[in-house]
Amino acid sequence: MADHILEMRSITKTFPGVKALEDVNLAVERGEIHAICGENGAGKSTLMKVLSGVYPTGSYEGEIVYNGEVVRFGGIRDSEHVGIVIIHQELALVPYLSIAENIFLGSERRGRFGLIDWNAANAAAGELLRSVGLDENPVTPVGQLGVGKQQLVEIAKALSKDVKLLILDEPTAALNDTDSEHLLGLLRRLRDRGITCIMISHKLNEITAVSDNVTVIRDGRTVETLSLASGEVTQERIIRGMVGRDLESYYPERESHPGEEVLRIEDWTVWHPTQDRKVVDGASLTVRAGEVVGIAGLMGAGRTELAMSVFGRAYGRNISGRLFVHGKEIRPHNVSDAIDAGIAYATEDRKHYGLNLIEDIRRNVSAAALGKLSTRGFVNGNEEIKVAEGYRQSMNVKAPSVTSVVGKLSGGNQQKVVLSKWLFTDPEVLILDEPTRGIDVGAKYEIYTIINRLVAAGKAVLVISSELPELLGICDRIYTLSAGRITGEVPVAQATQENLMQLMTKEKELAA
């Protein structure tokens, strides 16, 4: 008989008109790392909100048994009181406050006269930082830390609340490999200290690496709980649970017939907008028609900076180098010029840079090419709906109509809207920055299919991705970028994760 720290029994949560969760069961053993996976919109986050009291008792059906007792939470404070702490995907830290201030925010230790004893607080914070393996001064403002370290501060904050059950929502989504590795190591250490972890994740390799059990949720129902202890459960097995069938392959097949050169970048150098350093240093690359070219690089290698500076100088200063589209040199001074020249750039951060979340699908699809829909400055609203409707169908955007607000779509569908927007500009070359970040396996496959359709139609596609298997799966050629320099160009047939990683970490060559 397993010792369950938590059991959620037949949880049903209904929003007006929709069942987000239906008869979901979750049993978590004391001292394990329990992964929850499922596609976006499957109900993972809703389940965690039920558990942490964001949705109070009474707003759902079913019961939560914690430490053998049925518990009723009226809000987050109640759940934190018994040691359940949730760390959300978007970190809830105040950038201008110090690490210590953030850790004790909301539970400040008051001394005499109700004043905060900062010496004691800083000392306690230092202690907590050591326990999560973060070597930083507690008085450092959180804004100066990278995302990985901020994540650790969040965990330190959870520890300060005497956490028994730690819930992490997509903890490694924004982290690079080193930071992810570090974080997962920390989770193992916390487990050894007796802290139970629930981890929501899309990254199946991480799930199989650290968790003891995994519960798969699909369409608001529990599908199964698999034990990973034996090591027999494969990623393919989990995916089958998530999508309800086997994916023949992660990546759709494509025949490659590269044509003539579409985009050529020569000796491209970009300076950081405020600091005195080069972010991209003498990069040169080419993309041909009907070809998918990848850019691999670690965080901070200058991938996004390269793409954005090419895209009408949307990033950086003192940009030098030459750009050619179809062999003709172009000198775009702003984004509008770049679009006219046939370049499209779909950002890695669709919520902040890609979409107007308060507007509907229609307005977002037309946003980058309103000129095509207008005569003498007047927009043809009906033509706009027709165009958007066309993309909604061809891209398989799951929304009832093109007047659905984009902010309410799932990540995969939002990404399809972003792609629609750029396809409508009728680009020659499409730069996709992390096109599948934060979207589920099924939608990823659809995005890959769309990319294949584009190159089949003779477009050139440049893909930036942190996931090497993805690049290996969809590209024809891969460039590696390290510290702003192109360190290698590898045809996909010869590329492996190992040799790419070697090039991505290659030090700057001394002779220039």
Binding site: L357, S410, G442
Partner: protein, 421 residues
């Protein structure tokens, strides 16, 4: 306000290679929230009209019908026209995510410029008007430059402008009031078109203009409907369509009837109507208007979509300067002179009108028509309370509460719409 039939089509047939039916929960979710969004957005939009009707009815009852008498309706138009003109520009500024605190001072400075030329220098009335507009455009370009090209927040730039242009007004006027304007200038805000067709105790011309306006409204609605049908877009049922036009027609004709029984068609109403129509079209149907909404909705996304954000922001402020100059001319004409403290607090009335009319503090949301109704709500309330002899201090309290409640209602609605996921 649009009524559409419920969206019928479900997600279309999936492509053969795509994994089938991967996220029906997400689709279902989106579907419901969309119906909800439709309802709430209709509620948000129609809520303001309902509130307006209720307030008009309330004051009509409280004042025993006086507030709707021909003379008073005319007065209201004359008295609030300049606030409404300012609110048109202000709502555009607010949609783009900015604010303009300087418009009251700009009204004063443009009015003063005109007064100096016309009253002191004895120039013809149109010179005064053109000079005022030129000053307004210059001021707009000045503020637009700082906001758009230097990147100073509009709050700061226009706060500085508020002080700056008030000071310049005092300079231009040498600290004294100038009056009176020649009678032609006074006709801008105080003149009427009447007697052109004669009538029996009422002005037939006003009724004719009213009828033309209704016909124009019906015609343009019908054309839109035909275009939508051609593009196979959902349209409201025909009886509903007719009912909508009849209702609008009835309100317009009743309004024209009351005007016709007073002094006829105010010239300033024509100016206002032209501006509302023009800016209604600009915000809703032009590329420029779309870019304003795009900037307010997500600045970074707009920039990366090729919107020339600086230029758009610049022209938004130039336009605000232009409209403030028009308001300045109308106000100086109405007050028959220029005073150093003219236009004091106008900016707050214009801002309040935009927010009561549904504009969002965070930008990206708002309509010209909404701002007009918002302004009229304030106008009807103030006017009604004046008729009732409510103390000035109490009037201020009521107006403050209405602004707060209107925005609170808006926020509440948004939160409900946002919590569906």
């Amino acid at each position: 306000m649009t009524r559409t039939v419920p969206p019928s089509s479900e997600p279309e047939a999936q492509t053969a290679t795509a994994p089938k039916d991967v996220a029906p929960a997400a689709a279902l979710n989106a579907g419901t929230s969309d119906v909800r969004a439709l309802l709430t957005s209709n509620l948000r939009q129609s809520g303001i009209y309902v509130a307006f009707v209720v307030i008009v009815a309330l004051f009509a009852i409280l004042t025993g019908g006086t507030s709707l008498s021909p003379g008073n309706v005319t007065n209201m138009v004359l008295q609030y026209s300049y606030i409404l003109i300012l609110a048109i520009g202000m709502v555009i500024v607010i949609i783009a995510g900015h604010i303009d605190l300087s418009v009251g001072s700009v009204v004063a400075l443009t009015g003063a410029t005109s007064a100096v030329l016309v009253i002191r220098q004895g120039m013809p009335w149109y010179v005064g008007v053109l000079a005022a507009i030129a000053v307004g455009l210059l001021i707009g370009a000045w503020q637009g430059f700082w906001v758009a090209y230097v990147g100073i927040p509009a709050f700061i730039v226009t706060l500085a402008g508020m002080l700056l242009f008030r000071g310049l007004t005092l300079q231009v006027l040498d600290n004294i009031s100038l009056s009176p304007f020649p009678s032609q200038y006074g006709r801008i805000a105080g003149g009427f078109l009447n007697g052109l067709l004669g009538g029996n105790g009422y002005d037939a011309f006003t009724l004719l203009i009213g009828a033309i306006a209704v016909a124009g409204y019906a015609f343009s609605n019908f054309r839109t409907r035909l275009a939508r049908v051609k593009y196979q877009q959902p349209v409201e049922s025909f009886p509903l369509f007719v009912a909508k036009i009849v209702a609008v027609g009835a309100v317009v004709m009743a309004f024209a009837w009351q005007l016709a029984h007073a002094r006829g068609l105010p010239i300033v109403l024509i100016i206002l109507a032209v501006l509302i129509l023009a800016y209604g079209v600009i915000t809703k149907r032009t590329v420029f208007g779309r870019q304003v909404y795009a900037i307010g909705g997500n600045l970074s996304a707009a920039t990366l979509s090729g919107v020339k954000v600086r230029a758009v922001n610049f022209w938004i402020f130039v336009n605000m300067g232009f409209l403030a100059a028009i308001a300045g001319v109308v106000f100086s004409s109405r007050s028959n002179g220029a005073q150093p403290n003219a236009g004091n607090m106008f900016e707050l009335d214009a801002i309040a009108a935009a927010f009561i009319g549904g504009a969002a503090v965070t930008g990206g949301v708002g309509t010209v028509i909404g701002a007009m109704v918002g302004g009229l709500i304030m106008a009807v309330m103030t006017n009604g309370m004046q008729i009732l002899g409510v103390d000035q201090s109490l009037q201020s309290v009521v107006k403050g509460l209405v602004l707060l409640l209107a925005v609170a209602f808006d926020v509440y609605n948004k939160r409900r719409a946002g919590s569906s996921r």
